[in-house]
Amino acid sequence: MSAPLLQTSGLTIRFGGVTAVDQVDFTLREAELRCLIGPNGAGKSTFFKLLTGQLPPTEGHVHLRGQDISGARPHEIARQGVGIKTQVPNVFNALSVQENLWIAARHKHTPTFATELTDKILTQLRLTGIANKEVGQLAHGQRQWVEIGTVLAGEPELILLDEPAAGMTHEEVERTAELILEINKSRALIVVEHDMQFIKMIARTVTVLHQGAVLIEDDVARVLEDARVRDVYLGKGLAA
């Protein structure tokens, strides 16, 4: 059997006294869609930062298709085919929507092809109408879409989405869910989300993080019924 798409072993990071990610063993198959949930401060965003090289692990390893990428720099990991939409929007504010996507597409493609790819994604995400608007002037929800578009334009094989539905209207949330399922036809995704309705729309397997460690990993229905998961979320007002 070939190596899994992504595998972490004993992945750990400490900030002073805080262990934000604690001995995480995590495996993702090719073209799998995984949801990652957990209360605020559980370490989900930090886990993503370890996967993308924004933070170096204190201990443990990350393997991408069997290759050790722990401690590699963000651009090296991106070139291996990992794309991320971060929790806090990370876009090129002074550039237009079109230019944001084009920069992403240009990394792999010629300028002409990058323009074509950009147009295609703009249409897919229904952003054509605001293609020439400066991203810094858009509303939060729209900036989220721009960032998702930017990630798609980079054509990664593994996509990490950190709270993609935050700040979106109900209708936008549904479209995001559809889009994720669409993307998943050809690529693997890990989606971090708080909105349980959203999770129910897309999830098959769910991993729950709590205080940096994996609490449970199972089929979505069983996870949402699990007493420990309810305990963890209780009092956070997020129980399903």
Partner: protein, 343 residues
């Protein structure tokens, strides 16, 4: 498309400017031609910082280092070779190598803007002290004595390429300098419109995002820094050609400050802005020097403070924003007009 229309405007403007440059000697006297020549050489220097700061987001407080190294490299090699063509090439090469070394340590060290500004400024201060201390026979490169505080007089000026016997007249030197300014300007416009240009602007806007898309910000920044060094070094050669003389004051703190002021008042994120800022300030400093009532440093400092406080974007972007808001266009301005005032 916007880029192309912008380029058309720049091309038309450049042709007109080139015509004016060639015509100038027929209309103004030699003294003014000399004056214009040094203004144009300085404007090339202004473009170098306007490019790396305004587009690359690299805060270099010591752009004089590359200017001065270019000037000294030109002077030393022109004296040794007796031919300006290889000297001009060395005036570009030496600062580029220096920028590569210095830039490597700073950019790959991952230091902050504040540190980068201070370190580049420190480099220029140290080069000033270093070159100042090169008096005496010991400091000789080939035929050229560095001369310490007194500098190097009698540097051969530009000759026709391949014909060292044919020295350009002051009018011809003016045309060469003016046309060089236009070519550097157009070259940078093309560079900014290219993929490389788009990418360095993106990195200036959000380095993390660029890295997460697979671009290594460090190498792009280093190349930008080196291009800035090359242009500043070339400006140094143009400057020595103007005066046939170079001294350590070329590295002095006052000039470092002036370059920054040109770019600030002209506007970061434009190319024409720094050129305008440079010409305005050069003219003003000459006027102050002539009437001697006020100290030039005092005025320069006051201008810098006033612009930082009241017009932080600079003249060109502010005017363009005004014009755009008059027109009431909702579209984004061309990238030249967009400035992120770095904090």
């Amino acid at each position: 498309m916007q880029i192309l229309t912008g380029m058309k405007g720049a091309l038309i403007g450049s042709v007109i400017a080139a015509a004016a440059i060639i015509a100038a000697p027929f209309y103004v006297d030699l003294f003014q031609i000399m004056q214009l020549t040094v203004f144009a050489a300085m404007a090339v220097l202004a473009l170098s910082l306007g490019f790396i700061w305004g587009y690359g987001g690299i805060l270099c407080f010591g752009q004089t280092s590359f200017f001065g190294l270019g000037a000294y490299a030109y002077a030393v090699s022109a004296i040794n070779f007796g031919d300006s063509t290889p000297a001009i090439l060395l005036a570009i090469l030496v600062p580029v190598v220096f920028a590569a070394l210095l830039g490597y340590f700073m950019i790959y060290g991952g230091i902050s803007d504040v540190y980068l500004g201070v370190i580049t400024l420190t480099v220029s201060l140290i080069l000033f002290n270093l070159v100042n201390s090169t008096a005496g026979d010991f400091y000789k490169i080939g035929e050229a004595r560095l001369g310490g505080f007194n500098g190097i007089p009698g540097v051969p000026t530009f000759n026709l390429p391949g014909n060292p016997g044919y020295i350009l007249t002051p009018e011809q030197a003016w045309m060469v300098t003016g046309i060089a300014l236009i070519l550097v300007y157009l070259g940078l416009r093309v560079l900014i419109a290219s993929s490389f240009g788009r990418i360095i602007i993106a990195i200036r806007e959000n380095e993390t995002r660029a890295a997460l898309l697979g671009y290594d910000p460090r190498i792009y920044k280093l190349i930008t820094f080196m291009i800035g060094g090359a242009i500043a070094g070339f400006a140094g050669a143009l400057y020595v050609n103007w005066g046939a003389f170079v001294s350590p004051t070329i590295f002095a703190l006052g000039l470092s400050a002036q370059i920054i002021i040109w770019v600030i008042i002209g506007g970061r994120g434009t190319l024409i802005g720094p050129v305008i800022g440079c010409l305005l300030l050069q003219w003003m400093v000459t006027e102050i020097g002539a009437q001697q009532a006020l100290d030039a440093n005092f005025i320069l400092g006051a201008i810098l403070i006033i612009f930082v406080l009241l017009v932080p974007k600079g003249i060109a972007p502010t005017l363009r924003d005004l014009a755009l808001s008059r027109l009431g266009r909702g579209e984004t301005a061309p990238p030249e007009a967009r400035v992120k005032v770095k904090t």
